[in-house]
């Protein structure tokens, strides 16, 4: 009895002392700037979200939730009214009002910045009163609320006081007050940024929200070299590492002091095929393009043993894919992403039906420094296709050479990975499947697929505001892409994090660790 009391008291004391905690977080890259409208760079956005907030934000399950706006209302298909959160203060003490939203909108549009994409389709932002703004759109935009999560709000008075109304011109190596200092509304206040050394944040006591974790101080350390980063984690110099080299994950799982948090990335790795040229460039087949035949594309698909690639090449760190978007992306559903077992005999039969009983040769272009084990995956594919008589001539090259080659359509087949910035599947469909035009449509449709039915669905989804109707269309377009075998989806990449046993974090599929959820006990 006594012992139990003692234990309870000890536990109580322990939990009380564990309230405030410092999180030492390590990852490969440093931020580029503190100006939230300057660089559309994954690491910079992921770190700055601790300080700067948008009108909306993503929830743990990648839905949209209120942030600096508490509510929004569709006044017309092209007019959206936001009610702003009252009583919010920037870190310098100035109050957050509609003027700041209007100011940030005009600021983010400046051409030297690269964040305009997050307000694309917005024609004007109008102040209605101090805590209400209207977004006037050039057309109905069903993904607006997702996009503006990355449109970060700056203080008008602070920017004017420090002559930072202009976005930093990063390419011209400009330094401004706002590229060296931060003043947001977010849960953490920036204390210090020493480039390539460390970034320090302290919890914001006046934040409008409530931290779910207990992290009151963040020390972010960029550590470039894989081995050094892992060594820092093993020796206890950092508590959390959010980008692990694949070959070390097994070893880290075996470390008693550490735990590995599994989670995936919204990135799908796939093979694309030239379905437009009259004749393939590197193929033994002359005078026609075998990839125009659906049976050939299907054969390529069913010959791939995705489970074995997962087990051997990816060491378990992938989710075999049947569709072109990963779990977590709006539009993905596991019932349409079921992978059938590899079937070499069936594939050979399909090839014979298509008129290639002895297979044929074609070129396969692969990057060798971009995705996890990219070249090894391509080598494995060469073997799997060889077994059905197809001879893929592998050309593995660095990303810079590779991307230039495939963007010039100088390929038969190629490997690529596609992430989804706004977590909406139509982004993938529009970029990869929609018939190529000069704009964003088909911007990475490098096999030059053209399917009138999918084009119509993609275009309708751009402006469809009825969520239910749009979801049906999303599903239809994803299934049509799958069943026409326009691509060979391979897998969705997993991206585990490793941390000390006493750290609890919430995994994030767009590689944005949010310290407000994290506990250090």
């Amino acid at each position: 009895m006594k012992l139990r009391h003692l234990l309870a008291a000890a536990l109580l004391a322990f939990s009380a002392t564990s309230q405030a905690a410092t999180l030492r977080w390590g990852a490969q890259n440093d931020i580029l700037t503190l100006d939230p409208h300057s660089q559309n760079h994954a690491t910079t956005s992921a770190i700055l979200q601790h300080t700067y907030e948008g009108l909306t934000r993503y929830s743990k399950t990648y839905g949209v939730e209120p942030c600096l706006a508490t509510a929004w209302q569709q006044i017309s298909p092209t007019q959206l009214r936001f009610t702003l959160r009252k009583g919010v203060k920037f870190h310098d003490g100035s109050p957050f009002t509609a003027d700041d939203v209007v100011f940030s909108y005009t600021r983010v549009l400046q051409p030297q910045g690269t964040m305009q994409i997050y307000v694309s389709g917005v024609k004007e932002v109008k102040k209605v009163d101090d805590h209400t703004v209207d977004f006037l759109l050039s057309g109905p935009n069903p993904v607006l609320l997702r996009n503006i999560a990355d449109f970060r709000i700056m203080s008008k008075s602070w920017s004017e006081k420090h002559k930072s109304q202009n976005v930093q011109d990063y390419k011209a190596r400009e330094e401004t007050y706002s590229s060296r200092n931060a003043n947001g509304t977010g849960p953490y206040i920036l204390k210090l940024w020493e480039p390539d050394k460390r970034t320090v944040f302290a919890a914001n006591p006046n934040w409008w929200g409530k931290l779910e974790g207990n992290v009151t101080e963040i020390i972010y350390t960029p550590i470039k070299a894989d081995a050094t980063r892992i060594a820092a984690l093993l020796s206890g110099d950092v508590d959390l590492v959010t980008d692990l080299p694949v070959q070390d994950v097994t070893r880290l799982r075996g470390e008693a002091k550490l735990k590995v948090l599994d989670g995936h990335e919204v990135r799908t790795i796939f093979i694309g095929m030239d379905q437009h040229s009259a004749e393939l460039k590197y193929s033994s087949v002359k005078g026609k393009n075998p990839f125009k035949d659906m049976r050939v594309r299907k054969a390529l698909n069913v010959a791939v043993d995705r489970e074995t690639i997962k087990r051997v090449t990816m060491r378990g760190l992938s989710i075999p894919a049947a569709i072109m978007v990963a779990p977590g992306v709006h539009g993905h559903s596991s019932d349409i992403d079921k992978v059938a077992a590899a079937d070499a005999a069936g594939a050979r039969k399909l090839l014979a039906e298509a008129g290639y009983p002895n297979g044929f040769e074609f070129g396969l272009d692969c990057p060798n420094n971009r995705y996890v084990n990219d070249e090894e995956i391509c080598q494995a594919l060469v073997g799997m296709w060889a077994r059905i008589g197809l001879k893929a001539k592998l050309n593995a090259q660095p990303m810079a050479t590779f991307i230039a080659k495939i963007q010039n359509f100088d390929h038969d087949a190629y490997m690529l990975g596609w992430g989804v910035v706004n977590l909406d599947a139509n982004y993938t469909l529009q970029s990869l499947v929609r018939t190529k035009t000069t704009g964003a449509d088909g911007s990475f449709n490098l096999g030059r697929i053209s399917d009138a039915k999918i084009d119509a669905l993609v275009d309708a989804m751009k402006t469809e505001l009825d969520a239910k109707k749009r979801d049906v269309m999303l599903r239809e377009a994803l299934v049509a892409t799958r069943d026409n075998y326009y691509y060979v989806p391979l897998h969705h990449q997993l991206r585990p994090w490793a941390m000390k046993r006493n750290v609890t974090a919430v995994h994030n599929a767009v590689d944005r660790h949010e310290a407000r959820y994290t506990r250090v006990d």
């Binding site: 070959q247 087990r311 060469v382 073997g383």
Partner: protein
């Protein structure tokens, strides 16, 4: 018949053969060298698998450990790599490339070095000074640096696809050029001694062409040391090739040599798949060590002062 047996008998009683018979280490080294060479030479016929025939590879056999461990399979004696290739077979095919590059570059060095040495020693004068100064300059750089330089220049100058096709020849050139100095200096020294001997003077007096004198009279008398250098150089050339390939600038991964295999396997060392890098490493050590031992023996056997 009797001529053959007489020749055999003479060979058996020759000094070299005698010293060979009486050195068990050398016999062992010769046997190992023979094993390595024949394994490499006959790889397509004796290797258990063809690691470069994609259709026969089975990815699901990837990372199989050596056959004597728990999870090993009898058909993969030394285990498999990440793509399911049999490690023993890749070693045999890899040794083919390593030996081929090693021997070819030694031959290249030898021809270049001996010719320049003969010319410098026999003709003397400005040509001699020029060749020997170049040799001195080259000697002040490590051989590997020169090989890296030549390989780097070729990489920059040739388009990528052409370079991949020519990679092995570039490598032979790079290693060959980095090794000629030793031959040239040795041959020049010996030539300086020989050219003042009476038989050379006699040949000159009767009006033989200088080239003929160099090749027919001087050259046969300087071959001993050259042979010793060449044998030891084979081992060095194999190591240089392996080093370059380990650094990723040697042969392309589609035609892996032992060095390439060690580099690829190195990525898996921490995660516990040691056999992918250790066995090619052991093969390299055995090959180089046995060739070196043979070279040492040859040097001692041909050196009258050590007899």
């Amino acid at each position: 018949m009797s001529a053959v047996s007489l020749w055999l008998r003479r060979a058996w009683e020759h000094d070299l053969a005698w010293s060979f018979r009486h050195s068990p280490v050398t016999i062992a080294a010769a046997l190992l060298t023979l094993l390595c060479f024949s394994g490499a030479l006959f790889a397509p016929w004796v290797a258990p698998h063809n690691p470069f025939d994609s259709a026969t590879l089975n990815l699901s056999d990837g990372f199989t450990p050596p056959s004597w461990t728990d999870k090993g399979q009898a058909k993969y004696l030394l285990g498999t790599d990440d793509q399911g290739r049999d490690v023993l077979s890749t070693i045999m095919y890899g040794a083919r490339i390593s030996l081929g590059v090693g021997l070819a570059s030694v031959l290249f060095s030898l021809v270049l070095g001996v010719s320049l040495g003969l010319l410098a020693g026999y003709l003397g004068g400005r040509l001699d000074a020029l060749i020997m100064r170049i040799a001195d300059i080259q000697l002040s750089f490590p051989a590997i640096l020169i090989a890296l330089l030549i390989d780097g220049v070729a990489r920059a100058a040739l388009p990528r696809e052409l370079h991949d096709q020519l990679a092995i020849y570039v490598l032979v050139l790079a290693i060959g050029v980095s090794g000629w100095v030793q031959y040239a200096r040795t041959v020049r020294g010996s030539t300086l001694v020989e050219k003042n001997k009476e038989y050379v003077q006699a040949a000159r007096v009767i009006g033989r062409h200088p080239l003929a004198i160099m090749l027919r009279h001087v050259l046969p008398n300087v071959t001993g040391p050259v042979l010793v250098i060449a044998t030891i150089h084979v081992a060095t050339a194999i190591i240089t090739e392996a080093t370059l390939s380990f650094l990723g600038v040697g042969v392309p991964p589609t035609q892996p040599s032992l060095g390439t295999l060690i580099r690829i396997g190195n990525d898996f060392l921490i995660s516990g798949e040691w056999w992918i890098t250790v066995f090619p490493g052991v093969a390299l050590v055995v090959l180089v060590l046995s060739v070196n031992l043979l070279g040492d023996w040859l040097r001692d056997a041909l050196n009258p002062k050590l007899r």
